[in-house]
Symmetry: C2
């Protein structure tokens, strides 16, 4: 089967560790809301962060139910029939309630969030000071109710469609990094 | 300001037309749920599709409140301080209720969904037959309550951080297409 649910921790962790953003959903005033946000995983916990002024994070830290979704888009799947066009992807969906973290766990989560952007970065940058820490809320979600879904490979086709004179296959998609663009306001000619 | 809300239709449409997937969120049994799904825009309407067996699509077509989110990740923003690390992105969030579409609008929506994967593809592939159409549900959302949010450019920095010996800037991210991989089950040597 090209598409199937997976529940092993290795598959889920690999997806979570490759993505730069997750989607965080909750219910606010009876309405669903979903926003993209940076996240990081440590063990079986994922962390998201935001401003202490965020109504959504406030509701979540007070126990509003949450859904966190992470998807890596791996390819466009072109079939010989319109109906069987699809996408190859790897995704994780997790449910639960988030908890605000404090103290050393909060600092470890910030480190993980920064390291997610660029490994080794935490050691090089200025760490958060007391005022910055106070202005930031970090919430954790323990991955107890989570599952992955993965689609790979070629299109499903009706047997009778295989003879159609239509190109079919997969166009791989990857997130590529362009050449870094330096911020020229600081010390000049600083090598990356 | 590097980050700001935008409400003009051109900005929103450009974001919607560049993305391959949206996130569709609703409330099911009192719990938020968000799933990635293909979509297409025609005018001020976006269309999503799925199986007629989907509980989520069933609830949406019965009027469950929806939130649709689309985000293009444009870059990693590396600041001299941990706190000011960020992402460049363009996103749209829309709210409303979805309606199931039928007849000619349903076929036009399917065409738009296929053309989104590869322009010109609808003319080349086998069109959906009656049975396939019956097994597919297409829902529409009119973009009345929608807004875009865009972050571009360099990191925000505290003035005193500008002297730190830390590289800062933006690492652009783009979705790149790899070499197409042909499905070899059909007619051989069919050129793309």
């Amino acid at each position: 089967m090209p598409e199937r649910a997976r529940y092993d921790v290795e598959t889920m962790n690999a997806i979570l560790d490759e993505a730069f953003v997750c989607r965080l959903a909750t219910i606010l005033d009876g309405t669903p809301i979903v926003v993209p946000t940076m996240f990081a995983r440590i063990g079986d916990v994922i962390y998201v962060h935001g401003s202490t002024g965020s109504r959504m994070l406030q509701a979540l830290s007070e126990g509003a139910p949450a859904c966190v979704e992470v998807t890596l888009l791996d390819g466009l799947v072109l079939a010989r029939s319109a109906m069987h066009h699809s996408m190859n992807y790897r995704s994780v969906i997790a449910y639960g309630t988030l908890e605000e973290v404090h103290g050393p766990e909060k600092m470890r989560a910030m480190e993980a969030l920064i390291e997610r952007i660029e490994p080794g970065r935490w050691m090089r940058v200025r760490r958060p000071n007391r005022k910055e820490l106070a202005a930031t809320k970090i919430l954790s979600l323990v991955l107890t109710e989570a599952s992955a879904k993965v689609r790979t490979g070629m299109p499903i086709e009706e047997p009778s469609d295989l003879e159609l004179p239509v190109w079919a296959g997969v166009i791989p998609l990857v997130i590529a990094r362009g050449a870094p663009v330096a911020d020229d306001r600081g010390i000049e000619a600083l090598a990356r």
